[in-house]
Symmetry: C2
Subunit: 417 residues, 2 copies
Amino acid sequence: MKGFFNLLTSRKFQALLADFEPLSSETVSLDKALGRVVSEAISATEDLPPFSRSTMDGYAVRARDCFGAGESEPALLSISGEIRMGEDARGIRVGPGQAARIWTGGCLPPGADAVVMLEYVREPGDGLIEVFRAVAPSENVIERGQDFRKGETVIPAGTRLRAQELGVLAGLGILKVKVRRRPLAVIISTGDELVPPEASPSPGKIRDINSTTLKALAELDGCRTFSMGIVPDSYQEMLQACERAVDMGADLVLISGGSSVGNRDFTMKVFEDLEGCRLLAHGVAIRPGKPTLLARKDNTVLFGLPGHVGSAMVVYWLFVRYAVSVLLGTSPDNGITRVRAMCGEPFPSVMGREDYVRVVLESPEKGMEEGSGLVARPVHGKSGLISTLVKAHGLLVIPRDSEGFHQGEYGEVIILS
Amino acid sequence: MKGFFNLLTSRKFQALLADFEPLSSETVSLDKALGRVVSEAISATEDLPPFSRSTMDGYAVRARDCFGAGESEPALLSISGEIRMGEDARGIRVGPGQAARIWTGGCLPPGADAVVMLEYVREPGDGLIEVFRAVAPSENVIERGQDFRKGETVIPAGTRLRAQELGVLAGLGILKVKVRRRPLAVIISTGDELVPPEASPSPGKIRDINSTTLKALAELDGCRTFSMGIVPDSYQEMLQACERAVDMGADLVLISGGSSVGNRDFTMKVFEDLEGCRLLAHGVAIRPGKPTLLARKDNTVLFGLPGHVGSAMVVYWLFVRYAVSVLLGTSPDNGITRVRAMCGEPFPSVMGREDYVRVVLESPEKGMEEGSGLVARPVHGKSGLISTLVKAHGLLVIPRDSEGFHQGEYGEVIILS
């Protein structure tokens, strides 16, 4: 494919992105922290749980007192007390031959090391119980600090906070967290053929789609966004738009359109002329997405994305999302699901470029081998169409050094979210 | 496993949930519609694209005029004009033997049916061009309506709107969409051992975790949430809390805690005594999650979830998320990724219950067969621990009629988000 061999590989393009610095931190309260990325490792301020707890309703016992107990030979223990939920159990002691009534979540009293479930106990009266089954030490017990010990790292730096991590923080009483500032993505569409979505296009014009899709993608990835709308195809206006974006503190500038040779040339010139800005890449050996531009001004990432919405989205997924991860100081694979799938049809390609082919994933047909997993089939339709992206489940990656996949071969599919 | 055989299967439990009605609709603007679920199918109000467009910089031609053209025998055409970006091309006509200069995204002029790329054209001057390659009809052209034809369904009812769908709507100028109202999930924790996350627990007490995790999960699924905090372990107070939740318009009431026999009994009694409420299920044959309660008052779904945070989250993923999907009128599988994985170790289970085992997923080792995909290994640690959920990538599903998986067998893993 003409021209692809002189372009950057996607790996080199990503290496340029990896050079940007993570953003500064800010402190947010726990109830605003979902989806944010922690900037420093968080350690346990105390043991979690703070005391050994029962996981069953039953009796707290000394396991050794029930060794050998069985249906025909129950262990006989005397009841030394009852631990009510939420009560300090230190007032109750389980000595040899003793047991204490306990509920799920109750605090294990001193002396006891296991809990025997209620269903294996009979209460004949007179403050005695019969235990019909042996228990091992710490059976039906969660030990103090078994989730996390005081001082232990609970959440490493760079973690994107999910419900699970928020739960751990709540359990430890950590109600404020240091997280990376949300990147500001400024979105610019360019092209004399474009009108805003609210306009009725005259003949020859079409509505701007990229402003909407890129904004949504950036928001899903945790960015704040600002849409500048449509900037006319003019060097001067585009230069001013970029200056304005930088002035307002943009961490990412996403310019789409201008993929035809003439337009692309002036976007490139704007990136070169913008004060303190350096053009890092003027093309990448992938399809779609070849004409992608990358520039850097201080720590601001400037992208020139293809005008076709389908191509712009693919470049977003491959590179803009990667850049957002770098700015957030999190793993670039965070939030990206890759699956292996069997090619249900041949996928021809050309040496020297990576292809990202829109595919639907189907369940394997009956009679196929056990591990075959999913079957990938191409979504038919030209890459400039947005309907093909609506239909696609993922992008099949055809490597640079490959002429494609035969039917039955396995490839990697990036799941589109 | 004692008692599991008399419980509802997860499928029957889900069938009870499928009986609830989708919520009413509201109209939102496109820029607020990301992640919302459309309540009515949306049709194209016009053709998209509204005219045939070039996907390349080059010349608009009649394909038949270039049949047989090649390096040694170029087709000679005369230039009839240039279509500037965003211009109405109806003033230009491409007749037999003619061509018109066109840019990527430009409107194909009448008469032309294909575009020949600039790199296969030489311009010797005198208003003539030489074309060195044949083109097929509609090559390098996206036809009018090729994305969507006027009247065609663009987005089916029940679709959760992603960036792709928003882009299509922007392209069609559809700036308002009818979507399902966001469900209101009211979250209640109960248990005398609980204190709020901001409190310092006295001995025997622990901080409430479920309020935080369930709120985050419900928000991720598109719910509005209201946390009632901790309600004491009392029939009267819990009944009042449920009445208050219903009064404030709750679509879902998520009560967690009370998994010990005594507490669970009064939550069950509250569900039975709440006016107009009906208990639908008092247990399900899964582990963890067996003591889950389900009730219905009008179209409000009331859940009694286990108190252990790990169990409560699993039940959320399996059933609460399912209920949210039903209320939103979308597919219950929407947003849930399932993968097949090979068991890297034996996973024993017991007939009569479904097991949801926390696993990490690893890449297959070298030398393993091609299609083997991911390898699942158990996360060690008791199911009451939240740390095991922080570490887990997914839940391996062990079916009800199985005694587990041998090493090397394949199973289905639900990816935890």
